[in-house]
């Protein structure tokens, strides 16, 4: 069984780093819809892909958070990216395969991936 002993060691190792991290303002928020509609449409792997992608690239000031249903169930999984300046981009019918491109183009380089946004995908 994995015990909490290792967590204690990890805690010691992290002590010095925490203060630095707290200085990072949350400049950008990635919001993933995780209500019944989102989960049924496949939001869990999308959430994981964003979270892993942000961690692997060591991106600072990016937070990945969950939200409930925003009322556009037919477009789920929906991911909103709220930039520091307040502008919001809504990605719809997101799959885990699209996440790397969104992180690279939008989060890192600041250019929304227009082909995946709600404006490009209007359904009926």
């Amino acid at each position: 069984m994995k015990s909490l002993e290792e967590l204690k060691a990890l805690r010691e190792k992290m002590k010095s780093q925490v203060e630095i991290r707290e200085d990072d303002a949350n400049a950008l928020r990635v919001v993933v819809g995780m209500a019944t509609c989102g989960i049924a449409a496949g939001a869990r792997p999308v959430l994981t892909a964003f979270s892993n992608g942000v961690q692997e690239r060591g991106l600072r000031g990016v937070s990945v958070v969950q939200t409930g249903c925003i009322g556009l169930c037919q477009y789920e999984p929906i991911v909103e990216i709220h930039a520091a300046g307040g502008e919001k981009t809504t990605y719809v019918q997101v799959t885990a395969d699209m996440v790397d491109e969104i992180i690279a183009q939008h989060i890192v380089n600041g250019k929304p991936v227009n082909k995946y946004t709600i404006e490009a995908q209007r359904i009926g």
């Binding site: 909490l4 805690r11 925490v18 991290r21 019944t36 509609c37 869990r44 959430l47 961690q55 925003i70």
Partner: protein
Amino acid sequence: MMTEISLNILDIAQNSIRAEASLIEITVAADSSTDNLTVILKDDGCGMTDEQIAKATDPFFTTRTTRDIGLGVPFFKYSAELTGGAFTLLSTPGKGTEVTAVYKLSSIDRMPLGDMTETIHSLVVYNGHIEFLYKYSVDDRSFTLDTREFKEVLGEDVSFAEPEVSAYVKEYLTENKTEVDNGVIL
């Protein structure tokens, strides 16, 4: 429609989060002697009135305002009943809610349990202000994840969302689950 029981659990736990629970207990217990896979979600959230309980399994009922149907509880209920199992919902306003779904393990209509590690990991990491007590058991073997114990070690200033902690939570869930079920897919 959910394709894994673990997705139902993730979904039903969101109800507890919306009910402003401070502690959510999730139990997944497989017992081959009774052929039952029992899933219990218990919270100390705002609870439901008798009228709300009666309506909760109706797909055309929801308390949210962004849409007017609520499929979470009905999906969960029917997925269990479809296997010859059972479903109960107990709730007291101001005290909390307990949802129990019992699946027949050997039923061909039972969905796979799916990725419980992913479900619990995303609940714990993205809801740092809520305590989770997760118990996973197969026959007489079990393990527990209690976020209160984790927080005791970590202190208040270290978040579960820190990459190192998040990775540790995932390892803890993965390794202990394998020890309990020997990697057998439920």
